[in-house]
């Protein structure tokens, strides 16, 4: 009852015509800018957040929440339509979402993404309201040893990601790992593979890698075919998902939400790996795994749900412990601080109207997102009927703008072009970019945490098995490995 009372307080604070207008403006602006490829939520919020300086606290937060969700969803839109991921999480959506678009099913893909995100957002908001503090404490149980074991498990499970040749998949993970370690090493402070170029000291940015690998490489290989063929088959079969689509997407959405909500609480690495993790899970338990990578609706619903649930629960460490889990959260924290809202364990007691107002505004933000985007689906899909000779230069132009806007440095644009060439070579060799991206994201995290765990244990490797949570992940890793290797081994034996 207390919970309902609190929620009522929150909605009472947030639900005014003026606040709804701010939220709607935030969602619209966020979507508009987030749709630009390479411009993820972080850049969008940073660009728009001075607008909120002059607003009172509640409308300011509500508008920021709207911008945040809008930008997040805008990124998914370009992933599906033109194979352009705006951030780590939406890179996974590219795999099946873009294939759906090519089959003329961009409408259902976009609608599924919006609805799955909305469902996950609602559950995430509810989780914050119900169990925020408990989940916050749970995040503190994860030390360097636990992260190491978790990353190891994710990397082993990633073998499932690959479509064809397992050896090629492994090679891609390693290439990704090599790209990931460029820049200053966290543990020693030494710059690696930077070749004395100052721009490489901070490593190669995610947007540079993802945009080059997915979008640029895709465009180059499309242009290769002589006749200017249409990338998208002319017929667009319905804008909204069919009953069968909804049935197919329902459970993956629920599972994606659960996985995303768990990972989102972990500061730093959580949101990034949640969509990879849930994609692997869906592919593993699917009756026909070969459909993945060829436009499976589950491959859109699950990661989109995970990504939004994680984005939601990422608020938990910030609100309850005062710790920003990601760079985007750090910016939100700064925005709240500037509005005079001190987050931390006391915020719920000291300023309940603000805390619950924020929770309510999150829900309103998610809701308005669906309201705004479902009617827009038709418009986005129309965009695809633009002839390719007009479409591809615009995509390339937006890629350049997106990459340039992160640091205002042309170097990132050149680097993206180089990665694009690499991506094209990989397409020719029939190697997939997804495992590379996974290696790029997870490899450096694994190394960082492994070395940190050993540093803290003063070099004692048993630490991974003596800490209970870490031991559980280690055992799970071994099990996954056995389950994956066994069928192959059995097949080998039968053959001999």
């Amino acid at each position: 009852m207390d919970f309902l009372g609190n929620l009522a307080l929150g909605f009472g604070v947030a639900f005014s015509l003026q606040n709804l207008a701010y939220c709607f403006a935030g969602v619209a602006l966020g979507t508009l800018i987030g749709v630009l490829p390479g411009v993820g939520p972080l850049v969008t919020i940073a660009m728009l957040f001075p607008i909120t300086f002059h607003l009172p606290a509640i409308p300011a937060i509500i508008m920021l929440a709207g911008i945040f969700y809008g930008a997040q969803y805008g990124g998914s839109t370009t992933s599906i339509l033109v194979n352009l991921p705006g951030e780590t999480a939406s890179a996974v959506t590219c795999i099946d979402g873009y294939q759906m678009a090519r089959q003329g099913r961009a409408g259902p893909a976009l609608a599924t993404a919006a609805l799955a995100s909305f469902f996950a957002g609602c559950v995430g908001t509810l989780l914050i309201a119900l169990a925020g503090p408990t989940l916050g404490e749970w995040a503190l149980k994860f030390g360097a040893a636990e992260y190491t074991a978790l990353m190891l498990m994710a990397l082993v499970a990633s073998a499932v990601m690959t479509q064809g040749d397992a050896l090629k998949g492994l090679a891609m993970v390693v290439v990704g790992l090599l790209i990931g370690v460029v820049g200053v090493d966290v543990n020693s402070g030494m710059a690696r593979y930077s070749f004395g170029i100052p721009e490489l000291v901070d490593g190669i940015g995610f947007t540079v890698v993802a945009v080059g690998l997915f979008a640029v490489a895709e465009i180059v290989s499309n242009l290769e075919s002589r006749e200017p063929r249409d990338v998208y088959t002319g017929k667009v079969t319905g804008l909204m998902p069919s009953a069968r689509d909804i049935k197919d997407a329902a459970w993956p959405t629920v599972r994606g939400t659960a996985v995303g909500a768990c990972f989102g609480v972990l500061p730093g690495s959580g949101p990034a790996i949640s969509s990879f993790a849930t994609y692997m899970l869906e592919k593993k338990i699917a009756r026909d795994p070969s459909r993945f990578g060829r436009g499976a609706i589950e491959g859109v619903a699950a990661p989109e749900a995970a990504n939004n649930a994680a984005a939601q629960t990422a608020f938990i460490p910030m609100l309850t412990l005062g710790i920003p889990a990601t760079a985007t959260m750090a910016l939100m924290l700064a925005a709240l601080t500037l509005q005079g809202i001190a987050t931390g364990p006391q915020v719920m007691l000291e300023k309940p109207e603000l805390f619950w107002g924020l929770v309510a505004s999150m829900w309103i933000g998610n809701c308005l997102l669906v309201v705004l985007n479902l009617p827009l689906v038709g418009l986005w899909v129309k965009l695809l009927t633009v002839p390719y000779r007009w479409l591809f230069p615009s995509i390339i132009l937006f890629c350049c703008i997106g990459n340039y806007s992160v640091n205002n440095n042309p170097f990132d644009v050149y680097l993206c072009a180089v990665i694009g060439v690499l991506g094209y070579v990989l397409v020719k060799l029939e190697c997939e970019p997804a495992p590379l991206l996974l290696g790029y994201v997870l490899g450096p995290l694994l190394e960082e945490n492994l070395r940190r765990a050993l540093l803290i244990a003063r070099g004692d490797p048993t630490v991974f098995f003596t800490r209970p949570l870490s031991a559980v992940f280690m055992i799970a890793t071994v099990l996954i490995f056995v389950v994956m290797v066994l069928p192959a081994a059995r097949r080998m034996r039968r053959r001999t």
Partner: protein, 323 residues
């Protein structure tokens, strides 16, 4: 006809020439000013810059446009910046990285002579906090315990070469004790590690750790500034509590490229100080844990020289290497 067009051309050239001369003599500032910030959007530096810029625009009568160029702890922005024409239309924000980079990276510019320092915008400090499981309540107790258990206490940081890291290195350097450094990628993960007890010690920026200390999740020991911070006047400084001369400042400054005319520097200085004194700017800066400063170009130049010399000594003694 031809003669006529030549005269016309001549007249046009003359006219253009005078127009150009008039523009050159137009009082500064005649066009918008670029304000370079050496970090991607979203960090404290970016926020401080974006707080000051609109107020400065008001006083200058020209738009001050914030431009982010992140990378290598401001070194990438500086490298571009020192090649800009010294006409007052490009200014830059300096951060502690400006003082530590000369000792950590190979730079293609001179961190003192290539800059005309205008004023220190604001200063904030770090707060030494410990996990409650570490049985110390003061700087003296911490030193005593560290001497009893050399190389046993872990301290966290937000990365190598950050003020969080260097505060601890300076502390060890001045007291002769030995801790183990566990670097994290950014302040968020570093703070989590401290709250969970993975590391026992952390020199966090005041606003990021003060709440947890007030809530009893962490124990505040001392602040790193020369004076007590207005955000927590009850907490002593490290210098007061037993390490005289200890001082670490996280600063935000403003500079122009070297050889910028003195009149322009003075104009920028005057209007920046006015912007810093505006009540809403002042209030928002303090909300971020930063105290507005606004000292003279001479004071700021001396400050920067001292900072560079201090960190060169500490970084060398601690054996920290960059490239």
């Amino acid at each position: 006809m031809q003669v006529f067009s030549v005269t016309r051309l001549l007249a046009l050239v003359l006219l253009l020439g005078t127009a150009q001369a008039a523009l050159a003599q137009a009082p500064y500032p005649a066009k918008p000013v670029r304000f370079i910030i050496g970090f991607p959007p979203g960090g404290t530096n970016d926020i401080v810059g974006r707080l000051v810029a609109p107020k400065l625009s008001e006083f200058l009568g020209q738009q001050v446009v914030v431009e982010n160029r992140g990378g290598a702890n401001t070194a990438i922005a500086s490298e571009m910046f020192v090649r800009m024409p010294p006409d007052g239309y490009t200014i830059m924000m300096n951060a502690p990285g400006h003082a530590t980079n000369p000792s950590l990276l190979k730079l293609n510019f001179d961190s003192v002579n290539d800059f005309a320092f205008i004023t220190l915008l604001a200063e904030s400090q770090n707060l030494l906090v410990v996990h409650p499981s570490l049985p110390v309540r003061s700087v003296k107790e911490l030193i005593a315990l560290s001497k009893k258990r050399p190389g046993d206490i872990n301290y966290g940081s937000s990365g190598i070469g950050t003020t969080v890291h260097l505060s601890a290195e300076l502390f060890q350097f001045m007291t002769g004790i030995k801790w183990v450094h566990i670097p994290y990628k950014g302040g968020g993960p570093g703070l989590v590690a401290l709250l969970s007890g993975e590391v026992s010690l952390y020199f966090g920026n005041v606003p990021t750790v003060i709440r947890q200390a007030r809530d009893g999740k962490l124990r505040a020991i001392a602040t790193t500034g020369a004076k007590r911070t207005s955000a927590a006047p009850d907490i002593p400084t490290v210098a007061e509590a037993g390490v005289p001369g200890y001082e670490v400042s996280t600063f935000y400054g403003m500079s122009a490229p070297a050889k910028t005319p003195r009149t322009i520097i003075d104009r920028l200085h005057r209007d920046t100080v006015r912007a810093l004194n505006a009540p809403d700017v002042r209030e928002r800066l303090q909300g971020l844990g930063a105290d507005p400063v606004g000292n003279t170009p001479e004071q700021y130049t001396l400050f920067m020289k001292n900072e560079i010399a201090k960190w060169a000594k500490v970084i060398k003694a601690a054996g920290i290497k960059g490239e």
